[in-house]
C-alpha cells in the first residue's frame, strides 16, 4: 500500500488510440481500486494540514458567536431581532428557507441521480449529502428559536398532556415540523448507510487502537459479503426511492407556509414547483462553492471530480435558474391577469416599492447571472464557475427575503404598513450559521471519507465481472 504523496502523481497517460476506443471514463488516469482507497483514506489518515486549522480558527469563533446571539435572543425576547408588526417574519424564516433549500441539492444528487443511474454522481454524492445534513442543522435553528416562547416549543410535538389539548394539524407550520424532522432523519440514515462500507475500509486500514475502536464500531462489523451487499443494495435503492419524493415534498411544504395564507404575494399556487426548482438551483451552487475549493486543496481529486461533473452541474444550474426566472415572470403575469388589486399592488411594490433593491438583486443573481452557463467556457473554467455560482447563492437568499419581508411590509392595509430593518443580532446570527456550517463540514472532510470509495470502485472498468472478456 503506497502512501498519499506517492499516489498523488498521476499514473501513466492514456495512449491516443485508447482515447478513441474508450468512452470518456468517469475516473481519469486509470486510477486503480487500491489508489482510490489509499488516496481518499489518506486524507483522513494523514496528519492534519495547516489550512485545516486555519479554517477552523475562522469558523469555530463564528459558531460560538452564533450560539451567543441565540442565547441572547432566548434570554431577552424576539425583539432583539428587527421583526415587528406587520413584518412578523423576516430574516429568521428567510434564513430558514435559504438553508433548507441549500440542503436539497445533496439529497437530489444522491437520490434522483441514483435512480436515474447517473453514475457520475458517485464522486460527489457523499459530500453533497453531508452538505445537506449540515444545511438542515443550520436551517433547523430558525424555526425552533424564532418562536416567542422557546421553552414551550415542545407543544409542537403531539404528546399526551394533562391539558388534554392537541396540535392543529391544519397548520402549515405543523406540516413543516413533521416534514423537516423527517427530512433530517431520513437524510442521516441515507448518509450513514452509504458510509458503512467506507467506514469498514477505514477500519481495516487504521493503526491506532482508538481509531480501530471508533471506526470499528461505526462500521458495524461490515464484511462485504455478497449476502450482505444484496440487502444493502436493496436498502439503498429503497432509501433513494423514498428520498426523492421526500425532498420534493419538503420544499413544497415549506412553500405552503406562504402559499396557504391569504397574504397577497404569498397566496399563489405556483409556489411548490418554483420553490423546489429554486432549492435545486441554490443547492447545486452551494455544492460547487464547496467542492471546487476542496478539489483545489486535494489536487488528485480532479481525477474523481472531473471537469465533466462541474459542466453537468452548471447545466443543471442553468436549467433550474431559467425555471425560477420563468416562475418570477409568471407571478407577475398572474398578478396582472388576476385583476386583484391587492395581488397587483403586492408585486408592484416588490419591484418598485421601498425594497426594489432586493427584488432587482434577486432578478440579476438568479435569472441573468446563470445565463453565462450557456457558454462552455464558463461551465468548464473552474474560477469562473466558482465566481458565477456565488450569484445563485446570494440570489436565493434575496428571493426568500423578497417573498417574506417585502410582502409583509406592504399587504392589505396601508395604515398598517411598516418597514423591516435587520438588527446587529439578526446579522451576526446569520453570519454565525455559516460558521456552524463550515465547522461541521471541516470536521467531516477531516474524519470521514469525503468521496464514496466503494461506489467509485464500482464504476471502474475492472469492476465489471465481464471486464476484458470478448463480447458474445
Amino acid at each position: 500500500m503506497s502512501n498519499a504523496s506517492a499516489s498523488a502523481e498521476p499514473a501513466e497517460q492514456l495512449t491516443a488510440e485508447e482515447k478513441q476506443l474508450v468512452r470518456a471514463p468517469l475516473v481519469l488516469n486509470k486510477r486503480t481500486m487500491g489508489w482510490i482507497s489509499d488516496y481518499i483514506s489518506s486524507i483522513v489518515e494523514g496528519k492534519t494540514p495547516t489550512w485545516w486549522y486555519v479554517s477552523m480558527a475562522i469558523t469555530v469563533p463564528l459558531t460560538l458567536m452564533c450560539l451567543a446571539m441565540l442565547a441572547y435572543l432566548i434570554a431577552t425576547g424576539v425583539g432583539v431581532w428587527g421583526n415587528n408588526h406587520p413584518v412578523g417574519w423576516a430574516w429568521d424564516i428567510t434564513n430558514f428557507v435559504f438553508w433548507i433549500g441549500i440542503g436539497h441539492a445533496g439529497t437530489l444528487i444522491s437520490a434522483i441521480l441514483f435512480l436515474t443511474r447517473q453514475k457520475w454522481r458517485t464522486s460527489i454524492n457523499r459530500a453533497a449529502e453531508a452538505m445537506t445534513l449540515f444545511a438542515v442543522v443550520c436551517a433547523g435553528i430558525y424555526p425552533a428559536l424564532h418562536v416567542g416562547r422557546v421553552w414551550m416549543a415542545w407543544w409542537l410535538a403531539p404528546v399526551p398532556n394533562a391539558n388534554a389539548i392537541w396540535q392543529n394539524f391544519r397548520s402549515p407550520l405543523l406540516w413543516d415540523v413533521f416534514a423537516v424532522s423527517t427530512y433530517f432523519t431520513v437524510s442521516v440514515l441515507f448518509w450513514y448507510t452509504g458510509l458503512i462500507p467506507d467506514l469498514a475500509t477505514l477500519r481495516d486500514r487504521c493503526k491506532t487502537k482508538i481509531r480501530k475502536f471508533i471506526y470499528g464500531v461505526l462500521a458495524l462489523g461490515w464484511r462485504g459479503g455478497n449476502r450482505q451487499w444484496r440487502h444493502y443494495e436493496m436498502a439503498y435503492l429503497i432509501l433513494a426511492g423514498l428520498s426523492t419524493p421526500l425532498v420534493l415534498s419538503v420544499h413544497s411544504v415549506v412553500s405552503f407556509d406562504f402559499a396557504t395564507s391569504v397574504v397577497p404575494g404569498w397566496h399563489t399556487t405556483i409556489f411548490p414547483p418554483y420553490f423546489v426548482a429554486g432549492a435545486i438551483f441554490g443547492g447545486f451552487a452551494m455544492v460547487l462553492t464547496i467542492m471546487i475549493p476542496a478539489c483545489a486543496v486535494y489536487k488528485p481529486l480532479h481525477d474523481l471530480v472531473t471537469i465533466d461533473h462541474v459542466d453537468k452541474m452548471c447545466k443543471i444550474i442553468l436549467l433550474t435558474g431559467s425555471i425560477v426566472g420563468y416562475a418570477y415572470l409568471m407571478e407577475l403575469f398572474i398578478a396582472w391577469y388576476g385583476a386583484n388589486p391587492y395581488e397587483k399592488a403586492a408585486f408592484w411594490y416588490r419591484a418598485f416599492g421601498p425594497y426594489w433593491w432586493a427584488y432587482w438583486s434577486m432578478m440579476f443573481c438568479n435569472v441573468i447571472a446563470p445565463q453565462f452557463f450557456w457558454f462552455k467556457f464558463f461551465r468548464t473554467h473552474l474560477v469562473w464557475v466558482w465566481i458565477l455560482v456565488q450569484f445563485p447563492n446570494a440570489g436565493m437568499w434575496f428571493e426568500r427575503f423578497v417573498i417574506i419581508a417585502t410582502t409583509l411590509a406592504r399587504d392589505f392595509m396601508p395604515s398598517a404598513w411598516g418597514m423591516f430593518h435587520p438588527t446587529w443580532v439578526d446579522i451576526l446570527t446569520f453570519v454565525g450559521t455559516f460558521g456552524l456550517f463550515g465547522t461541521l463540514f471541516l470536521l467531516f472532510i477531516r474524519f470521514l471519507p469525503m468521496i464514496c470509495m466503494f461506489e467509485v470502485k464500482a464504476v471502474l472498468p475492472e469492476a465489471d465481472p465481464h471486464h476484458g472478456e470478448a463480447h458474445h
Binding site: P160, N161, A162, N163, A164, I165, K212, F213, G216, G221
Partner: protein, 217 residues
Amino acid sequence: MANFFPKWTNWLPLKLVICAGAIVTFLAAGITYYFTPKYTRVGYEPTQPVPFSHVIHVQQLGMDCRYCHSFVEVASHSNVPTTQTCMSCHTQIKADSPKLAAVRESWKTGDPVNWVRIHKLPDYTYFNHAVHVNRGVSCYSCHGAVNEMQVVYQHEPQSMSWCLDCHRAPENHLRPPSEIYNMAWHPPADTTQQEIGLKFKEEWEVNPPVTCGGCHR
C-alpha cells in the same frame, strides 16, 4: 492476529437496544405518573396557622359551608372567612383555646390570618364558583369530602383535562339544588347519578363551555 473486538460484543447491540427500550418505557410511565397534577397536586396538605377542623364544624356542629364561605353563591371567588366570622362564635366558645391564638391575635391587631392556599389555579384560568354552585355542581365534585377532612387537602387534580371531563359530561356531577352543600349526598336508591344528571342537564339547559374562552381571558 485475533479480532479487535471480543466475542461478547456481538450480543452487546441487542442488549443495549433492550435496555434503552426498557429505560424509555420506565421514564414515560414515571413522568405520566409523577409529573402530572394527579400526583403533584392531589394530596397537598399544608399545615395551617390555625388547626381548623372541618370535621368538627361541618360533621359534628352541622354548619353550612356558606356560613364561612359566605359569597360562594354570588362571587367567582369563594371567600375564606374573615377573623370577624370566627370571632362571632369564638368570643364565647373556646374563647381562650391556645389553638385559636392566631385568630385572637389577628382580631386584636387587625392583621389578617394567613391561611395557606391549597387549591390554586394558574393566573390565566378564571374559575367562577357562583355559576357552578348555582347550576347544580356540588362543592364535593371539586373539593372532595371536605366534611371528613381534619386538615384540608387537595382531593382532585384540578388539571385542564379534569375540568374538561366534567364540562363534556356534566351529568356525572349535577345534583338537586338542595343538595349542593350536602357533602354526604348520594343519589336515591331507585336512581343513578347519570339519570339525575341527564334530567337536570335537560331541564336547566346545562351546556358548559369547552372552548378556551370559557376559562382563559
